[in-house]
């Protein structure tokens, strides 16, 4: 084999998972090279996002990065509510108990600011080991020697060998796919998150949310405002902006042929939002990304040879009822992978590190959070349509609604929402996301009549406001099958495409073929925001753009 450059450890991706792995490796004195495809860490990343420091977690981000909260975060969450909505009727529950369960602290973050701060710290630490962070480098595959994974190949660099390869490349991990550990086939294994970052002066935030400058608010929204699409909305306060977004089950988006940007607009224009945002609405950034559902895809053995996967790449993204925990688990997993490498260093069996890492995930209780055993049981119940239908019919009947509507039920429901145990059992059916919240809203809610003055930008304006460095003539996604059956879902589900919108990525076009008319799907990757949706819902050859190319998020 040719002489290649060699590093003890190569970490692919500098999000929270990669940053944690690299920092911990460097702390152990391991020569560590970090490769990040963005022009700066964070320029490709999107979260809601609240980063949790769990009391039970073996590692939290501030353990690994001193000063994280002061320098990389926004506001801590001191106020947490969920709103059950049935048209204009809203019932609000305080969700503090669920939020505070096992929580040491929890801060809102914006990913560009957070990840670029982490990148600088990681570069300082890894430089000391003879490595460092390189941005604008996309890893495009695994380097193999006689079938065994021994390193990575990149668009921008010659192949690199390593004793440990940490795949921290996030959702739609090309490394996980190359290793055969993940596929991108089933929409029901993913959520799609969409979000807008909205300008707001700090004192206006304090005033409208009734908080102090060092406090922050979190609001969740569910019910019938998203029609029948399963999922919900969120609003978090940053230092001088708001993060407002939605997270939906991808299979539900596809089934309902829903337009993600319209669902976001449904939240933005709901009367409830008028108390916080007035006609001064100014959107800084529109963003989207897939989110894995750990209950279904968290890999029990996230390794192969010298490759270990951490974070979203391994499906370690926990939807704990309405609370989304991905960043914190990525941090834990990254640090554990580093520790596993150090304790197995020198072992001739290349999979020793992976096995140890999987054990550590199990022993630390992380795996049970990601794939609760009780969910496996309730899932089979919830997904049996017959059972669901019975529950729905009861709920929708006057008797069911009245039962939920009585005062005792009100108390119980609030408690149920705040029970980490119960929320982790909610089946992924319409019942939990739509039916129940809207009945709660209707029966217990009060009507609101605030006038919402928000005028969200059009999709065209949203795309126009984004920064791109287009890799002209080198599209990163290719459509394999242009038929509507194979790829038509992307026209709706792609967050920057829409039926009858010519400026998006996916379009459906009617073409005349010898006499008869046929509808075909076409793709233009220029406006692509690299969310990963069409990798799952359409028939494509899907890769990330080369290093530094494509969309560049300023907020994330």
């Amino acid at each position: 084999m040719t002489e290649y450059e060699h590093y003890e450890a190569v970490v692919v991706g500098c999000g929270p998972g990669g940053a944690a792995a690299a920092a911990r490796l460097a702390d152990h004195g391991v020569e560590t090279l970090v490769l990040e495809r963005g022009t700066e860490a964070g320029s490709k990343n999107v979260s809601g996002g609240l980063i949790y420091a769990e009391e039970s977690a073996p590692y939290t981000i501030d353990d690994l990065f001193e000063g994280f909260r002061e320098e990389a975060g926004e506001r801590p969450v001191t106020d947490y509510h969920i709103h059950n909505i049935a048209e204009n009727s809203v019932k609000t529950y305080d969700l503090s108990d669920l939020h505070e369960d096992d929580t040491d602290w929890c801060d809102a973050v914006l990913r560009r600011k957070m990840d670029s701060w982490l990148e600088r710290r990681v570069h300082e630490k890894t430089s000391e080991t003879g490595g460092g962070v390189l941005t604008n480098v996309r890893v495009n595959g695994l380097l193999r020697d006689g079938g065994e994974i021994v390193g990575v190949t990149c668009d921008e660099l010659d192949p690199i060998k390593a004793d440990l390869i940490v795949g921290a490349d996030g959702v739609n991990s090309e490394l996980a796919r190359d290793a055969g550990l993940m596929d991108w086939e089933e929409p029901d294994e993913w959520f799609q998150g969409v979000k807008a970052v909205v300008d707001m002066e700090p004192d206006v935030i304090d005033d409208r949310f009734d908080i102090e400058p060092d406090e922050g608010a979190a609001h969740l929204f569910s019910g019938d405002l998203f029609e029948d699409v399963r999922g919900g909305g969120f609003l978090y306060t940053n230092e001088d902006s708001l993060s407002i977004g939605t997270v939906f089950h991808l299979d539900s988006l596809v089934e309902q042929e829903a337009e993600p940007h319209e669902l976001l607009d449904a939240l933005l224009t709901h009367p409830l939002l008028a108390q916080w945002v007035r006609d001064d609405y100014h959107e800084r950034e529109y963003a989207a990304k897939l989110v894995p559902d750990s209950k279904k895809v968290a890999h029990e053995e996230p390794y192969r040879d010298r490759l270990v996967l951490v974070g979203d790449a391994a499906g370690q993204m926990q939807a704990q009822g309405p609370i989304i925990k991905g960043m914190n688990h990525a941090v834990t997993a990254g640090a554990l992978a580093a520790d596993a490498f150090v304790v197995t260093r020198g072992n001739t069996d290349s999979e020793a590190v992976g096995r140890r890492y999987a054990q550590m995930l199990e022993k630390s209780g992380t795996m049970d959070k990601l794939r609760p055993r009780r969910y496996e049981i309730s899932r089979t119940l919830g997904e049996r349509d017959a059972v669901t239908n019975v529950v729905e019919r009861v709920l929708e009947s006057p008797v069911g609604s009245v039962a939920i509507g009585n005062p005792i039920a009100n108390r119980l429901l609030k408690r149920a929402y705040n029970s980490p145990f119960l929320v982790s059992m909610l089946p992924d059916t319409k019942t939990g996301y739509v039916t129940l919240p809207s009945i709660i809203g209707e029966e217990h809610g009060r009507s609101i009549h605030w006038e919402n003055e928000i005028e969200p930008p059009t999709l065209e304006e949203r795309i126009g406001d984004l920064t791109y460095d287009t890799d002209i003539g080198n599209p990163h996604i290719e459509l394999r099958d242009e038929s509507v059956e194979a790829s038509g879902a992307a026209v709706h589900a792609c967050p920057v495409s829409a039926e009858d919108f010519g400026g998006g990525c996916y379009r459906s076009e009617t073409v005349a073929t010898n006499g008869s008319e046929e509808t075909l799907v076409s793709l233009d990757t220029q406006p692509c925001i690299e969310c990963g949706t069409c990798a799952v819902v359409a028939d494509t050859d899907w890769e990330h753009p080369r290093g530094g190319k494509g969309v560049e998020y300023r907020e994330g």
Binding site: L35, S127, L134, V137, E156
Partner: protein, 294 residues
Amino acid sequence: MVEGSMRSIVLTKGVPDFSEGAVSFDEDGHLERGKTPTVMNPNDGFAVRAALQTKVRHGGHVSGMSMGPPGYADVLKEAMGSVYTDDSYLLSDRELAASDTWATAITLSAGLEKYQEEVGEIDLVFAGFKSADGETGQTGPQTAWAMDWPIVTHVLALDIDPDERTLRAKRLVEGDRDEIETVEAPLPCFVVTDPEFQPTYRKASHRLTHKRLRAETEERAADHDDHLTTWSQEDLNLDPDYIGLDGSPTIVSSVDPIPKAPSEREATMVDPDEETEMSEVLEEMQPYAAGAGD
């Protein structure tokens, strides 16, 4: 890090900043040098990239060198910011004012000689390709000639073998886009880069070095004066008859106020590969070269 043994010089010059809003002309259409800020010749940027690539790949020391008024220190500082030079040498003297390319070449070669005597043996000299103020691109070749070192022009890509003390370059034949040849030359050697020169860093270690150099240089460039050596005409031991305006056989009659248009002046274009033309120039230059040598 292991310090490499390569020692390179980047020759840069200042040019009036012809960008909108910066440039200033008097009533007669003469460029007002005093009112127009000086910036690094944009084409020297290509030389700078090649020098940087050499430093990143092979380590070692890179010095910036320029001839011009004291204000050119800013140009060298700019070079430090972009090529990450280790230090700067400014050849500056009232007597050197208004030199044409020949007188400049003589002065620069005297600077290089002094550098070799006092600082260290040079392996490579990088020069830019024409300057934005209408100079003809002769300074590089003329300085190489005065040093009696080989020169490779129109370089697109560069590979150096420090052990064999040779370089291998891909170059455009006669600056022609369609014809590319690979040449080898012994060190020390002059390299004139083509604007199409593309540095390549395909090793992670090279990119890490590049990043480290950038961080180090930011600090260094902040107090550039500490890294600047100025040599006067006396330091360089140059005969005033052969330098400055007196030593310049080229007379510039007027400069056209339109920045990009060719200047009206009487200059003799000499093809360095044309033997007869070249030897005439060489004869004319003989006394200057001797003056610089001692």
